[in-house]
Amino acid sequence: MGYLNRHYIKKSVDDNTPDITYYYNESILQWEKGLFDAIEEPLVSAVYQQILKERNGERIESSLITNVIKSILALGINDPELPKKEKEGKSIYIYEKTFEQRFLDRTSEYYIFEAKEFLQQHDIFQYMKKVEDRIREERERVTRYLHLSTLPKIESTIDNAMIIEYLDQFRAEFDNMLAHNQIENLSRMHHLCSRVEGALNALHDKFRVHIVEKGLEAVSALISETPNVDPATYFNTIMGTHKHFDNVVKNAFRNDAIFRQFFDQAMTEIINNNANAFRNDAIFRQFFDQAMTEIINNNAVTAKFNSSAKSSDLVARYCDFLLRKSPKALPEKEIEEAMDQVIICICYIGDKDVFQRQYSQVLAKRLVFKVSASDDFEALMLSKLKRMFGFEYVNKLERMFQDSLLSHDLTAESKNRVKDNNINVNGVDLSTIVLAQGVWPTNFNKKNDMVVPNMLEASFSEFSAYYCQKFNGRKLEWLHNMGRGEVQCSVFSRKYSFCVNTYQLAVLNLYNDADSYTLQQILDNVGITKEELPGVLMAMIKFELFKLEGGVSFGPNTPLETKLELNMKFSSKKMKMDFSKAVPKADTKKEDAELAKDVQDDRIMVIQAAIVRVMKMRKTLAHNALITEVIQQLSYRFKPDVRMIKKCIELLIEKEYLARTNEDRQMYEYLS
């Protein structure tokens, strides 16, 4: 018989002769026909009964089932679809035909029933937990004694029976869960929904809407409490929202991936599912980011000030608060953490170039007025900005900071020179900060014609001489509008000292020679304009160091013939007074307008540069493609207006960098 099997039968099988098979196949076939077919139904029923028992919590002898399944699988050897020479264990057709289909049908019935039953007595959260448990059990069962091919089928059976039917109920609870920050439930729901294709999509948007709602609510609440928004509170409100939902994303929607990983280790699917879970996570994050962007660029505060630049302004001012010398300053160790938060926040700001300008404005003031808390923190903040937004973004800011550092040395060296050479500078102790042109905000670079008071002249010209000798060929201009000084006054019974700006100092200097000048005389002698006058005099009149002739009150329209008299009866409880800080309101408004113009001019340059860059590379490009590419290139700085890009394209055509092609006026070509 062994001979027959090896030669005759092998040959017949190879030749595909009908009705001739190996002895083993033949005997299996006989077993199938003679025995299995007859008992198939009760057998499968019995197996299912056992499984049912197990599902209902009883202990069963699982090796019985294992053996039955094994023998059913063994019948697969006679699959007519397979070539006869194939060895055993390749086909599961008998398993599918006799066992699996019935098993799945009954399972489906079972779970449909269970879902209904369970939900009548439990809430949705318990239900979700139940579903999760069931999925885990079934998986485990398949690996224990069924064929692995059943796994995807049984999972989708459960999905159909217990999840898809109840998606609406899940979604209805989603807001509620977010509102109460039920991380565990959210995570479970995310897990269940991620099993069903498309089920998460509805959640994404709900999630975004929810965050936006909460964020805007918080900002509105803030603005109704304190109409004059304080940068720190505003910032903390925004970042509070961020932190809260960041936590949700991390814990509710990512734990899920880990959770799965734990149970799926043996499965081949793991990579796919895992990737899926992470991808979902990324999508949630994206929606989350969108929501944050929406909150920060468009909320009650920006609406109130009618400008989305207000957010970045407040953030810039928050930075100023962090980095400025102040009794209210945060403890040092909290500052760095706050900086990181600021960086996160800036990422969401649409117009990063506006923020850059605003930051440069507050940084300039800190550096020039020497109110920065620490050079180290300034440097740290700049390096953080640089890491996030690139070299170009912080280039000017860094150069400003460098100017300030270098100026420390210059001042010291100049002072030494004065001391060593015994130069008479009227006892003026001069500190200078030399600003590179084109780097600092434009309002730091105003032409002014102040007549330098004689007592300052020596020290000014001494420094100029020193500087020009040290850096041959550089031109030094004095920005008197930025100067500050402290003077002592020996007119009154007590020796007061005043902090004043250079203009005020020049005015005070006049009164060394006389007790009264008309306003016109002051303008002429000091060399300032009528518009600047209120800013100079207001504080000194308010504190009654000066008074107007006949006690008239002072305003921008006071006639210039009015005399300003030194108040000989001046007295104050404070020995030291600061007149330099009071800046009239109009000035800040002007600053805003200037800022907007600077930003605009800057953008026109930056957009043109981007267009040229793109066109240089592409040579010819269609209109829409060009616009898209430019927007994309600039997105790290700001969101350019399409109209503005078109204007810039027209400018470049005019300057003959580009031309519309002859054949198609939608195409541009680069002219080199």
Partner: protein
Amino acid sequence: MSWSPTSNNGMQYGPQYRYASGSRNMGYRSAGPSAQQSLPVKSKSSTVRNLFYQYANDPSDNLPGRIGPNGVVRLLQDVKAEPTDCSVLIFAWKCKAQTQCEFSVDEWNTGLTAIRCSDLNDLRAWFKNARNHIQNPADFKDFYKFTFTYAKSLAQRGLPLDVAIAYWQIIYDGNTRVNHWIQWLQNENKSGITQDEWDSFGAFIRQVKADFSNYDETWPTRIDDYVEFCKSGK
């Protein structure tokens, strides 16, 4: 007149033309006998040249060797054309003229060769039907493009608004869409017209339907504004 003829051409081919005001006796008009002898040959090119010198060197123009504004005025009277006729611009185009109201002898030759005219009769007939020569879209496009360079002075990059409008009126003579555009420009926008805007407007009238249904976002912003204005129905 403080100048004397500098151009050799002027001496050689000086025509026998007497100015209408003609009592002034200009030295350059008395051509040498050799020139007179060449006249009976009446080669086409020489009649063209002779015609040129009927209008060139007009003393009130002070442009030696060229037809200047006053010469042009006389020419237009002779061919019975109005200065604001499109035909005049088309003639300038055919001559590839560089400067408004002026023709050099080369431009004159180029032009008259191109339109196959050699005497005033030819010219009169041609001017009457000059518009036929810009019926072909490719010709019109070239003519339209030419007008921009012709109309602007060398130092300028763009056209002053009033000049641009004047030329549009000449070219499109009464076209209602163009008139509407001009009206809008006069109300809305005072800045000059760039070459791109000029060229684009030509394409705009040619390609874009009156209801703007095929208008897209590739047009210059000024035309965008105009279309938006039209759509807002004011």
